[in-house]
Symmetry: C2
Subunit: 302 residues, 2 copies
Amino acid sequence: MRQLMIDMVYRIQDEICEALCLIDETNYREDIWEREEGGGGRSRVFSEGSVFEKAGVNVSVVYGTLEPEAAKAMGGGHLLADEDLDFFATGVSLVLHPKNPMAPTVHANYRYFERGNGEKEGSWWFGGGADLTPSYLFEEDAIHFHSTLKHVCDRHDVANYTKFKDWCDDYFHIPHRQEARGLGGIFFDDLRSHEKEACFAFVTDCAESFLESYIPILERRKDIEYDEHHKDWQQVRRGRYVEFNLVYDRGTTFGLKTNGRIESILMSLPLTARWEYCHEVKPNSEEERMQTLLKNPINWIE
Amino acid sequence: MRQLMIDMVYRIQDEICEALCLIDETNYREDIWEREEGGGGRSRVFSEGSVFEKAGVNVSVVYGTLEPEAAKAMGGGHLLADEDLDFFATGVSLVLHPKNPMAPTVHANYRYFERGNGEKEGSWWFGGGADLTPSYLFEEDAIHFHSTLKHVCDRHDVANYTKFKDWCDDYFHIPHRQEARGLGGIFFDDLRSHEKEACFAFVTDCAESFLESYIPILERRKDIEYDEHHKDWQQVRRGRYVEFNLVYDRGTTFGLKTNGRIESILMSLPLTARWEYCHEVKPNSEEERMQTLLKNPINWIE
């Protein structure tokens, strides 16, 4: 399974980057890196194209021995005995921040973990998900994104869209703001309810469906006209994105604690962000509409 | 002591804000707020003047019962038995981010804590410090700032500049970047080695010396000419400031966990920040000189 997953994430990275190169009319910067304690990865970042302010697609394959504190942050395997501190983890992770404030940020991440040799009950699992973070609301975008994910879930017995959608809303919640990071999507962790092969098939299908879930949205929004006011609001929303990632995100926490490659971990942060003291949205504005929805997540599919 | 400290922090806030109004040629926005679980505060923020991009001076007086998790984040009193979850905390806290990249950001914070009724051994303590975070290095500024703090320490038996300077370097360290947040200053916590009155006298002297430690530096730097390149580097450094505050700062963590007023807690964040993938400084540049120093803190006073 380790090799199957490794092959899949590298293939997906290639496919997604190829599509992004076309849209962004530029090439990515690639960094192949090694981790001192074991493993490494391949990071690809777009930052000079026509569409993305900053966009990263990252593969990592890491292994070694966990510090107990990192083991706690890892999830899933924290149920295991302390002696199983050996780990293996591989995944593909992407965050795309378009320039245009009408085009949403998107994040997706699919990963496979093992603790020990991955044979004991509870010693292997899959995780992942995808979620959409617009600054401005276009309902059809949210519906398209969620529908694509639901169709993937519906094709697999191991998956449950409703459960994974709720899990996503719970996970990408910013408690101190009492709001969601974005409009959600799906999130799952500790997935090991079926055979490894069935879980892998679902995760592969998710990863292969990424472009279909996002590119049509990007195409519709990337060239809409906008002004400074829209850009300011995007910057405020990006501040919230930074808050979530640095304070709550388990992947970031895990990376910082396992001596991951900092530039790859923090690739998810936007190029720029803004913190205005007591920022307030105008009543009945588009910004207020977005904010209201972030405070009260809804179902996008009947 | 509770009332003495409360009176002091409000007086210091008034004095500092009065001086900042003159320099910034504007007035602050004031918010008086209450905390549902007990207490409240007075926040003052400058954001429309000639000198500061964003500057906040905040007083808070809060009390109530701690969640066990917050008790751990509080420091000092974590040595106490779990039943002492009642707490009282008051302090003045400020962060000033000037517009000009040649003018350093400064932070200072002086506070008093009690657990239970504050009478048991270890159930009361003072904490605080001040530190300077420039984007560009002016040695005379660092020396002036540290000298002022050393003089204050030298006037009090409870204080030890060398110890507090090292503590500051330890505290404002960003492990994942392997660099300091800035050029340090002093930091102390759990201060209760002498009578309450002696500790209070030292903390008061620190707070009263803030303007002397910083304003001459600001006056020298606030009108220096700069270009976009300087501003970009300032934005990158501000990104690191955000990383430290959201990932490691104990005050921020404590605030987020005790349902503090979010806008007052996150007042410390700069107006804007920037995360470039794999940002690198040019060899032999002023930026490299700064970065080298952040990776290898030095002593500014013989």
